[in-house]
């Protein structure tokens, strides 16, 4: 029971955290790029866009930071047996993340927020880039740690203590699962961030309250589409690689995500399946022949392992027990991740075409569709993590440590229940506040962060803006 609640807490706090993380990863680079454009050209429009999207970025950034603290403490609080078992290996990338990335990110974001009038322009620009680099670097370390749980490398089990012991940090950091996951997660983050910029811009174009910001948002919407489209290519290529790694390192996850019950030659990709999990078979399964085999092995004639056969093999190796994750959930999470993610990319591509050479959308629903693409992209990110983490079950470290043996033995059900309720409640309140603030700033538009000149004055083409920034 305490185990279930601890898992729920991990799921809720991590999913919540990951609503903000992809936006932080992508928007930090977007804002830094906008400021670079302003720095290069001096054009007022870029500065205004920097400040507008910078504000939204910061509202989101704060939530990402504070919900991140929980993650680092949670391993020790709820998963102390896991922590003792893996600390020697898993702790190193976490410590590196704090030392190399978090300090960089937090110090330079402070310098950026408060330094507008205190730092030379070039140095101030460097600060937002340093924060963006810190953010993107932190993702690598934590994903290397996570990848190790799915494909443990560079370690041995200490014969005396029975705990994992690091033998090669290089193996952990250059784990193919680590860099492949990094490419996939970060490109998915850029899809979400690109769609964030596009969705905000589309909303502003749809409402069209302030005609003077029209051109700015037309451009920023296209910029968002471009970011998403480019990231879409990386997400597809890395996703393909992820499937192959999954077939190699976690065949059970792939089989479950495909509801493939038995080993199959030239396996087909399932489009829609209704199955009987007790019985271990599908009633209905509509497939595209050979595609799963290609996805998993790079060969349409390849062999893919099925759930029932893997279960039998695992019992041979690991002893009796159930090694099958939640098949129904994984099957649909996999499809939702791909479907929603690719829908976002498709909307961007079509959007780019429809807005080519100064054109605009003709219908309101087209703008609304772009707005809807943002939650879709965030959901796609979440479903990706549900697939990754739930698919690893019943293991925390594949082949080495079961989730059931990872939980804190000394923490009572009541304690986890209190903690789970407290976080859920606080996070719900903060979500309402955060969304309210974002919406308020989107609605207020660019004039709220940088007023336009009076009616009879022309907007200066170039601005050298050094306003004092006591923003708190």
């Amino acid at each position: 029971m305490a185990l279930d609640l601890a898992r729920w807490q991990f799921g809720i706090t991590t999913i919540y955290h990951f609503l903000f993380v992809p936006l932080t990863i992508g928007l930090s680079v977007v804002v830094a790029s906008l400021q670079t454009a302003w720095h290069r050209t001096g054009r007022t429009e870029y500065l205004r866009a920097t400040k507008f999207f910078g504000k939204l970025f910061l509202i989101n950034f704060a939530m990402g930071v504070v919900t991140g603290i929980v993650q680092e403490f949670q391993f020790g609080m709820n998963w102390s047996d896991y922590s003792t078992f893996v600390g020697d290996v898993f702790g190193a990338p976490l410590a590196m993340e704090a030392l190399l990335a978090f300090f960089l990110e937090s110090t330079f974001i402070g310098l950026w927020i408060f330094g507008w009038d205190k730092l030379p322009r070039r140095v101030h620009l460097a600060c937002i880039w340093a924060a963006a680099i810190g953010t993107n670097l932190s993702a690598y370390f934590i994903l290397a740690a996570n990848a190790w749980m799915r494909h443990p490398v560079g370690f041995e089990i200490d014969p005396v203590t029975g705990q994992a012991r690091l033998t090669s940090i290089w193996a952990v950091l250059s784990n193919d699962q680590a860099w492949s996951t990094y490419l996939h997660v970060v490109s998915a983050a850029f899809i979400a961030a690109g769609l964030f910029v596009a969705a905000v811009s589309a909303y502003k174009l749809l409402k069209n309250v302030e005609p003077r910001e029209h051109e700015l948002f037309r451009k920023s919407m296209r910029a968002g589409f471009v970011v998403t489209a480019i990231a879409g290519v990386v997400v597809a290529v890395s996703g393909d690689h992820q499937a192959k790694l999954m077939a190699r390192y976690e065949p059970m996850k792939l089989a479950s995500a495909e509801a493939l019950w038995d080993d199959e030659h030239a396996a087909g990709f399932s489009i829609f399946a209704v199955g009987d999990i007790q019985d271990g078979r599908n009633h209905v399964n509509i497939q595209i022949p050979g595609v799963l085999a290609f996805l998993a092995t790079g060969d349409f004639e390849g062999d893919v392992q099925g759930i029932n056969d893997i279960q039998a093999r695992y019992e041979q190796v690991f002893g009796p027990g159930t090694y099958i994750p939640n098949v129904g959930l994984l099957y649909w999470a996999f499809r939702m991740m791909m479907g929603l993610g690719l829908a976002g990319v498709a909307i961007s591509l079509v959007g780019l075409w429809l807005t080519r050479r100064g054109r605009l959308f003709r219908w309101d629903w087209q703008y609304r569709l772009v707005v809807a693409a943002l939650p879709a992209a965030l959901l796609a990110n979440i479903f990706g993590w549900i697939l990754t983490e739930m698919g690893r079950q019943p293991w925390t470290v594949v082949g080495e440590l079961l989730t059931a043996n990872s939980v804190s033995p000394g923490v009572s059900l009541t304690e986890v229940a209190i903690s789970l309720s407290a976080f859920t409640l606080l996070y719900a309140v903060l979500a309402v506040i955060e969304l309210g603030l974002l919406f308020r700033y989107v609605k207020a538009g660019t004039a709220a962060v940088m007023p336009y000149p009076a009616e009879d004055e022309p907007e200066p083409e170039k601005t050298d803006d050094r306003v004092p920034a006591f923003v708190y």
Binding site: L58, I59, A62, I69, V70, E72, F73, F75, G76, M77, N78, S80, S83, T84, F85, V86, G87, D88, V89, F90, G91, A92, L94, A95, M96, A98, L99, L100, F102, F103, L104, S106, T107, F108, G110, L111, F114, G115, K118, Q163, R165, I169, S408, P409, G410, V411, E415, I418, S419, A422, F423, L426, L430, I433, L437, Y441, P468, F470, V471, Y472
Partner: protein, 333 residues
Amino acid sequence: MDLPVVWFVAIAVLWTGYLVLEGFDFGVGALLPVLARDDTDRRVMINSIGPVWDGNEVWLITAVGATFAAFPAWYASMLSGFYLPMLLILLALIGRGVAFEYRGKVDSDVWRRRWDVVIVAGSTLPAFLWGLLFANLVRGLEMGADHVVTTTAFGLFTGYAVLGGLLTLSLFLLHGAVFLALKTDGPVRLRARSFAAWSALAVLPLLVGFVGWTQARSGVGWTLVPALVSVAALAVGAGLVHRGREGWAFTATAVSVGTLAILVFGSLFPDVLPSRTDPAFSLTIENAASAPYTLTVISWVTAVFLPLVIGYQAWSYWVFRKRVSRDQIPAAY
């Protein structure tokens, strides 16, 4: 010295950095209702720590991350053993961080007052709890051979531990007041100065009591030095701030907080989490440490990057070296 001992020292350094740095920003947050007369005052205070509090907090993240890497068993037993207080600290840090960022984002008095409550509570609570928890570390917890802590949340509230909590809370208030005297100008500066000087009359007895108790309970010969320095530095700091020597006063209170942390870790040595059930069950530097390879790896990373971190954080303090005053606070948010 062997590597585990080096890492015990490194973690003590990280915690010391955390308590010295976030100590003053906890103090500033908790002092909002005490030293501010209106919203402009409050904004002067909050902006004085605005650019740096987040960087200060990363010292905690790094200390905990380093404990995970270097002493997994310590990390595991401590965090699960201090479950409910840790939860409170997390909730406080979440609320406080969001409050700093969001309070100025809507121009409404109700909105700001609500976030102020969060800032005050979110600063006061951890300032007390860290003292409570560190005192409990020194005192030891009920813990069997399996290193599972069985002390309940109520069991953490012993006289010694509560004294520790009151001490860190009041010491951070004083430290924060001295920081405000140093970093602001105008009425806040004057009020902070007098608060710091007068509060020393209350903080000093607490400090003497806790330091004496700690030294008597688990101190060794050399820990007498940080114990005495901590008390002396606080007295000197209070005197200096009273005479308007704010820079030196802040140095002195920082030394006082820092040496107090050294005393705590010195008293802990060579244990990291002593067991009250049976000393044989204690987690020690030896039995909790990671293998030499991991310690070597993180030693190299730390040796290269920690000086760099200290360098750019110091630079950031230098960039924002000017005092914040009321006339710099723009009317509009």
